[in-house]
């Protein structure tokens, strides 16, 4: 069964050209890696191959048929695709119900369904996950289950979008092993910007650059990721946000137990921890979105006695999903509204704002809808909104992941400037991915939130 694209061109409505006149025929076995920067169109290409998107012009064909017209139940048995966001891959309360739904769609006889589910669960060691409520599972656990479901379809073509992204080290190794054994009789096509996972077993490398698909030879520099803490907190610090004996849990599972900490002002901290350890939940706790026990205070005032509206003016949060940040209809309005709410209106003059708009290269989209600009632009606008508001405490939930190097460097300048304005900043970042230096490192490990001393390694990286 062949998978090929002919003269494929694709543009999202109201956006510039993304892919132009691409023709390619995928090999029937082996591993193909599609690389490219964020926003280059590699995920889009995968979605076109999977028949989820239809080309603006040209064809994507499986078995010489238009792939988007093949009945899904038949298609997925030959060509299966796993999207990046596996949170929404699950539409039922448990993994078992989800597996059953998939097997019913494939018209598996009902008496065989429990047997097949049992087999999939056993082969993938999912015993502890399959009956848990989906809402209580971490991104990594969901990824594991979704991968097991997709692999169980045993298709000729397997399309995976950043399959390693949420997995911890052990499961990354398992997946590498799985891909190596599968690729002998299956065509595996992955889209990823982290190429090192595929270093020793990829069969072909493709790159999406300037609307085209080209093969290339990747170069792997031997620069190990920073994993050691390079700084510790000085003895005396000024602090406004503090918590005592803070405890919170999810579905009966304790995430953080009895943590006491004073968040330093004028510093940038890293909040680290494995997937599902409760990093995002901590930020939700600190912004009145999640129940806890213990005490949280700002300037000695108890959080429980302050209205949400007042509290949120002291402590702002950069959401993981940038679109959640926007409350206006254009980028310009967003920035103006932030300026009106700014803690440092004398600093954030119109001139200052427009100079940052220029630096971030946002001037061309300043009058656009914030919902219809690229993901990278959304993150920059989001960061700029929070910087302009410049509240005393700023919490950022992975909002820098996926930005290119130049933008990350600019983001760092912006954040340094905020510390000079007196802000205390806490950032969730994957393994020092965005910034190489933080003033201090907090890690959630085994339900404990601890301040790591200088020279210590992060537990989230297993060696």
């Amino acid at each position: 069964m062949d998978l090929e694209i002919q003269n494929l061109t694709f543009t999202y409505p109201t956006q510039p050209l993304l892919l132009e006149n691409i023709t390619y025929r995928f090999p029937s076995t082996g591993l193909t890696v599609i690389a490219g920067q964020n926003g280059s169109g590699k995920s889009t290409l995968l979605q076109l191959l999977a028949g989820i998107l239809a080309p603006s012009s040209g064809k994507v064909q499986l078995n010489h048929q238009d792939v988007s017209l093949i009945v899904p139940a038949a298609r997925v048995q030959h060509l299966a695709y796993l999207p990046q966001n596996t949170r929404h891959f699950f539409t039922f309360k448990t993994g078992r119900e989800q597996l059953s739904f998939m097997l019913e769609n494939l018209q598996t006889p009902s008496d065989q369904i429990p047997k097949i589910i049992h087999q999939i669960v056993a082969e993938n060691s999912l015993e502890y996950l399959v009956d848990q409520p989906i809402t209580t599972l971490s991104g990594g656990e969901l990824q594991q289950m979704a991968l097991a479901m997709i692999f169980s379809l045993d298709p000729e073509y397997l399309l995976l979008d950043e399959p390693f992204a949420n997995l911890d080290h052990d499961h990354q190794l398992q997946l590498i092993h799985m891909l190596k054994s599968k690729k002998n009789n299956t065509a595996i096509i992955v889209a990823d910007h982290q190429l090192q996972y595929y270093q020793d077993f990829a069969d072909s490398w493709l790159n999406v650059t300037v609307h085209k698909l080209q093969s290339f030879n990747p170069s792997f520099q031997n620069s190990p990721t920073v994993s050691r803490v390079t700084a510790g907190l000085p003895v005396s610090i000024s602090s406004r946000l503090q918590w005592q004996k803070l405890t919170f849990s999810q579905a009966g599972r304790p995430l953080v137990v009895e943590s006491t900490f004073q968040l330093p002002q004028r510093m940038v901290g890293l909040l680290a921890g494995k997937n599902g350890s409760g990093k995002s939940t901590l930020l939700n706790v600190l912004t009145k979105q999640y129940p806890y026990s213990g005490q949280i205070t700002f300037d000695q005032q108890n959080e429980q006695r302050i209205s949400i509206r007042k509290w949120i003016q002291h402590i702002t949060l950069g959401f993981q999903n940038s679109e959640d940040q926007f409350i206006k209809t254009t980028v310009r309005e967003e920035l103006q509204s932030a300026q009106q709410a700014s803690y440092h209106p004398n600093f954030w003059t119109n001139l200052q704002i427009s100079s940052w708009v220029q630096k971030f290269n946002l001037q061309s989209i300043i009058d656009e809808s914030p919902y219809f600009i690229s993901g990278g632009q959304q993150k920059k606008v989001q960061l700029l909104i929070l910087a302009i508001i410049s509240s005393p405490v700023i919490l950022l939930d992975e909002i820098l992941t996926g930005l290119d190097h130049a933008s990350v460097a600019l983001a760092w300048d912006l954040i340094e400037m905020l510390t000079q304005l007196g802000c205390g900043i806490l950032i969730i970042d994957h393994q020092f991915q965005s910034f190489k230096h933080y003033d201090y490192v907090l890690e959630i490990h085994d339900s404990h939130l601890q301040l790591l001393p200088k020279g210590e390694s992060l537990n989230e990286i297993d060696h």
């Binding site: 499986l62 078995n63 238009d66 093949i70 209809t329 919902y371």
Partner: protein
Amino acid sequence: MQLPTVNPHKQHWTIHDVILLSLIAIFFGLIYQGWNYVYYLLAATPLKPYANDLTLGVWLMAGPVSALLLKKRNACLIGELLAAILEMFIFSSWGVATIISGIIQGLGSECGFALTGYHHFDNGELFLSTITATLITFGWDLFQNGYLYYPLHMLITLLLLRFISIGLFAGLMVAAIKKLLIKTKVVAA
């Protein structure tokens, strides 16, 4: 071997449409929970019919919003019916009256769009749908809630209040939402 194919031109309700309208119904239901308590307090007094008609428009928003998003025949009716089913199961209020009123309200708003043959889903049609919704739901309440037995001057007041409420929420408010949707390009003009 040829794989089975779907008919791309078949116009029907997709899983996407159903999830979208159901999600909107749940969101709206949760937003109105606070509103619900206000109504609840008023509903225990003789002013209940006035409270009922003044707040009715809020419950009718899901229908026209569904129509504007999907621009499909029956979107209003199905959006409102889905909202009623979910209201009954999740928020467990009003019993069977929820479903029956949901259908009547959906039909009422749908008529406005149907009268113009579903050619446009613009402000004119929206206005028309507030009128049809007011008349049809009022006609139904003559029986279901015994409005038939209220004095005439009270009926006129109630009808007026109902039209104001529906016009305000299922009309002007929906038009304002539509304007924002178009300005942010979430919905094509």
